[in-house]
């Protein structure tokens, strides 16, 4: 039967199943293929805190959402068009994320009485009519997988583990995608290690594809053409990987060894994992006994002349507070990456949030200002951690780079930078004993000299006690303390001369300015774009430099009648803007542990204009 081929601009698919069903792998494979076809895309894994919760339960459901398209894709999608549900629990927990009239593909074999009960269902939703608002495809994925492997004489348990490739194959057929990328992946992964496993996965993948082609229940295939992306060499990159690469690149460019002191914490651990592989770059990774030792070892490494870095998430940053104060007193370069997660306390470890901004700004004893930057997209983690490193070295200061769980685990295509075009990071260690004073400052940056052990004649002591403003010796002099407190603040302020001016998306003057920071970039951008398409006078400013703010930010804010600040917290950037610029900014705060939905931001924008949406 000839099947219809429809062209779509963009599609959002959510793969959901048990933690053991391989949904992350399935999603990643679909992503790689989409990227290779030139689609723009954005992905969001959504996995439970439990490593392997009991099979079939709702709290063991693991999801992976991908949005891909032929246009500029800014977010992984607020809601999805297609839900692939491998069991009842996956269906129940993800149904609210499916649009009205959306497509459901379920593994009907998994809808046993036992699994229905585990999902808290009294009757089978496939049969009780509760899914009538959706287009439901019941596919016997388990049975068809088993049939595909019938000749191979494999255990049931093993066969069951390959069924995710059936779903993947079916989705490849449905969206008119070639199997090449995944075939290559399977062959590379298993050809030498376990050829039988490789062969089984290949058969199941093809079986899924062929099932779509031959069965009559699927009448339509869809096509999503390549996006018009700027020319260049691309790869797909996750935020945490981008962060790791940014640190390596900065160290290499500065001619320093990278030292990472880190303690495992969700969702930041992947940065440690990545960096621990790059031994040939001289990267030294040190899994410390706790968060405090992690940052202290990085401070020690920095003192000895390495680029010291530490990576963590909110609770870890809390533990590092005192040591951050030490780094501020010692005036040494230090890069701190906080992959924010839901808080307070242990909070929502695997979910995203932007609630550590004020902690990053102020969470220390005493007057302890430092530089804070924030990444806006997964790929932007590379650029911002690189900037953090550059600033840390140039100004001899700790810099906190904020990302979050959504950025860290999310992925997008990235134009790979040419290493020759990366900004220079000049390093000059002090060497002249005749002129050396530990706290004599560079006139322009107020940076003190970096004098590393091993340099003859520069032996000196520094510490957390207040220091004389020139020699660095302990000083309890009242006026010296006043001077030092103000100098440390002034130094951070001067960083504003070294960062780009703030850019605006949209008109430079208008009725409403939407100001955001961090991972809400894509959601705000699409909300603002839609509002502008409806004729609203709205512009967007997305801050990557928060301490200090870009020099022209105040001027920009004053060019708008009103300012809206959407954040995934209860209002933090808004505090900084109000107190610094004395403007009556208004907030939009949704704190669900999930990315901020673009349509909700758009609704909020419409409220400013009387709510009469076209």
């Amino acid at each position: 039967m000839a099947k219809e081929l429809k062209t779509l601009e963009d599609v959002t698919i959510r793969f959901a199943g048990d933690s053991g069903d391989g949904m992350q792998l399935t999603g990643t494979q679909f992503t790689i293929t989409a990227a290779a076809l030139g689609n723009d895309l954005s992905t969001l894994p959504d996995y439970p805190a439990e490593i392997r919760a009991p099979a079939g339960t709702t709290y063991g459901v693991s999801g992976f959402q991908i949005r891909f398209g032929s246009t500029d894709i800014l977010t992984p999608g607020d809601i999805c068009d297609v839900l692939v549900a491998m069991n009842p629990a996956a269906l129940v927990t993800n149904l609210r994320l499916l649009r009205e009239g959306g497509t459901i593909i379920v593994n009907e074999d998994a809808f046993s009485d036992k699994n229905l009960k585990l999902a808290g269902l009294e009757s089978n939703p496939l049969e009780n009519g509760s899914l009538s608002r959706y287009l439901v495809h019941r596919v016997a994925i388990s049975k068809l997988t088993s049939n595909a492997l019938a000749e191979m004489n494999l255990t049931t348990r093993f066969v069951d583990k390959t069924k995710n490739f059936f779903a993947l194959g079916l989705m490849y057929w449905m969206y008119n995608r070639p199997l090449d990328q995944s075939i290559r992946f399977i062959q590379e992964k298993f050809s030498t290690k376990d050829p039988q496993v490789g062969e089984a996965n290949l058969r199941v993948l093809r079986a899924g594809y062929n099932y779509g082609d031959t069965t009559e229940i699927f009448t339509t295939r869809y096509e999503v053409k390549a996006a018009k992306l700027p020319p260049g060499k691309y790869r797909n990159i996750m935020g945490n990987v981008a962060t790791a690469l940014g640190l390596v690149a900065a160290a290499k460019k500065a001619g320093l060894d990278l030292f990472l002191g880190s303690y495992p914490i969700t969702p930041a651990s992947d940065i440690l994992h990545e960096l621990s592989r790059f031994k040939e770059f001289g990267v030294k990774t040190f899994q410390a006994e706790d968060e405090i030792a992690a940052i202290c070892s990085a401070i020690g490494a920095s003192y000895a002349g390495a680029l010291g870095a530490t990576t963590t998430s909110g609770p870890g940053l809390a533990l590092k507070s005192e040591a951050l104060g030490l780094a501020i007193m010692l005036e040494l370069p230090l890069v701190v990456v906080n992959v924010q997660r839901g808080g307070p306390s242990t909070g929502l470890p695997t979910k995203t949030e932007q609630a550590d901004l004020l902690q990053a700004m102020y969470g220390r004893n005493g007057e302890a200002p430092l530089c804070v930057v924030a990444a806006a997209t997964p790929a932007d983690c590379f650029a911002m951690v690189y900037e953090a490193s550059r600033i840390a070295v140039k100004f001899m200061t700790p810099v906190i780079c904020l990302t979050d769980g959504y950025l860290g685990n999310g992925a997008e295509p990235w134009i790979i930078p040419d290493v020759n075009n990366l900004p220079e990071i000049p390093v000059r260690f002090a060497s002249d004993p005749k002129t050396f004073q530990a706290y004599a400052r560079d006139e322009k940056t107020l940076a003190r000299p970096w004098a590393i052990p091993g340099t003859p004649g520069l032996e000196h002591r520094i510490g957390g006690l207040e220091k004389d403003h020139v020699t660095g010796n302990i000083s309890y002099d009242p006026d010296n303390h006043d001077l030092m407190v103000k100098t440390r603040a002034r130094k951070v302020e001067l960083i504003a001369d070294d960062i780009p001016l703030q850019t605006i998306e949209g008109d430079e003057k208008g009725d409403l300015l939407v100001v955001g920071w961090g991972s809400t970039y894509g959601s705000i951008k699409s909300a603002v774009a839609n509002a502008r398409a409806h004729g609203r006078s709205v512009s967007q400013v997305h801050l990557k430099y928060i301490s200090p703010f870009p020099r022209n930010l105040g001027e920009i804010l004053n060019n708008f009648k009103r300012v809206l600040v959407p954040e995934i917290n209860n209002g933090q950037l808004i505090h900084l803007l109000r107190s610094r610029y004395l403007i009556p900014a208004e907030g939009f705060n949704v704190i669900r542990g999930l990315p901020l939905p673009a349509d909700e931001i758009e609704e909020r924008i419409e409220e400013f204009f009387g709510g009469n949406h076209v």
Partner: protein, 345 residues
């Protein structure tokens, strides 16, 4: 920092005590045991064959942690308890440096206890001088994790009920490869222990009995004063029997695993029955460390254990070298490119 920095540094081996004295006024209380520790370190450091700029002292918070300010070498006065972690970063970033940690019983065993045990088990080549005075001095007299049961202090008016740490046992339990005990009032022995720490390949942990004459005066007098020392202290010497007493008439005999004091001049036991020290035997080290629990036994001073194990930093260096010999020096562009790229025209 020196007001008139030297422009030239004497060659290794030609340095003198003066090279290690900083221009800072020493601010410990008059009569504090810390003075002796500082003096012995300044006396011994010139013997080591490092250039002066290769020494680094790292400390935390407490009286003992002022130590780096008084040595004219590179130094970091860190935050409370974290010296081992800061020092680990220094040493791993530049393994050629000679890194020393000065800490106390509160700094090193209470707030910083975790960092201490982990640094020791990793065997990072860092030397720890733990000034044990069994009291918090800088905060003016609260009990510490090594204070004695029943000890009356500012924060324990009815006596300490915390069971104390035995620092040597803790270090042994943590897997330290050199563990020693010495005291402020025996300069020669203290100097020798500093030398042993320097010579050792790996983490060295030196507990120093140090008198706080203001808040805990005389805590160790039974072991440190001339009149009583001979009867109450047994010096550990590798390959030598554990004899003590003014006349060297007493010795340690092992009854099973239990040490006891016997007299070698009274006929029943001879020197041949006396336990012979072996620094390479960690089981023996635990027995010697536990002698502290029996008040009838003398207190061992000296090197409890000296073991050889690869250091953390040399293993780290080896992994990097191996990766480089296999893959060559890292190519940054290749790293950024990753495995899967595509071109958009």
């Amino acid at each position: 920092m020196s007001e008139t920095p030297e422009t030239t540094t004497a060659a290794p081996g030609k340095l003198t005590i003066k090279d290690f004295q900083s221009d800072q006024d020493v601010r410990w209380c008059p009569g504090c045991g810390d003075y002796s520790i500082l003096a012995q370190v300044q006396r011994v450091f010139p013997e080591f064959l490092h250039r002066k700029e290769m020494y680094v002292a790292v400390s935390g918070i407490g009286c003992s942690s002022r130590f780096p300010y008084y040595l004219d070498i590179y130094g970091v006065h860190g935050i409370h308890g974290r010296a081992p972690a800061i020092a680990s970063g220094v040493k791993l970033a530049n393994p050629d440096l000679d890194v020393w940690v000065a800490t106390g019983d509160g700094d090193g065993l209470s707030i910083g206890g975790n960092h201490m045990i982990h640094m020791l088990r990793r065997n990072i080549n860092i030397k720890v001088l733990l000034f044990n005075n069994q009291i918090y001095g800088l905060t003016k007299g609260q009990y510490s994790p090594t204070s004695m049961l029943g000890q009356v202090t500012k924060s324990t008016p009815f006596g300490v009920i915390d069971y104390p740490f035995i620092p040597v046992s803790l270090a042994l339990g943590a897997g330290a490869t050199l563990v020693a005990r010495t005291m402020d009032r025996d300069p020669k022995h203290l100097q020798e222990m500093v030398r042993r720490a320097e010579k050792h390949h790996g983490s060295a942990f030196i507990e120093i009995y140090q008198n706080c004459n203001v808040f805990n005066d005389g805590a160790f007098f039974a072991f440190t004063e001339k009149e009583t020392r001979d009867e109450n202290v047994v010096y550990l010497d590798h390959g030598k029997p554990l004899l003590f007493g003014k006349e060297k008439d007493k010795g340690i005999h092992l009854d099973g695993f239990t040490p006891e004091v016997v007299n070698v001049k009274e006929g029943r036991f001879s020197v041949n029955d006396i336990l012979v020290h072996n620094e390479n035997d960690s089981t023996l080290a635990f027995i010697l460390a536990n002698m502290i629990h029996n008040p009838n036994l003398p207190r061992p001073m000296g090197v409890f254990v000296d073991l050889h194990r690869p250091t953390y930093e040399e293993q780290m260096r080896d992994q990097i070298a191996k990766a480089r010999s296999r893959k060559g020096d890292g190519d940054l562009q290749k790293l950024l490119d990753g495995d899967e790229t595509w071109i958009i025209q």
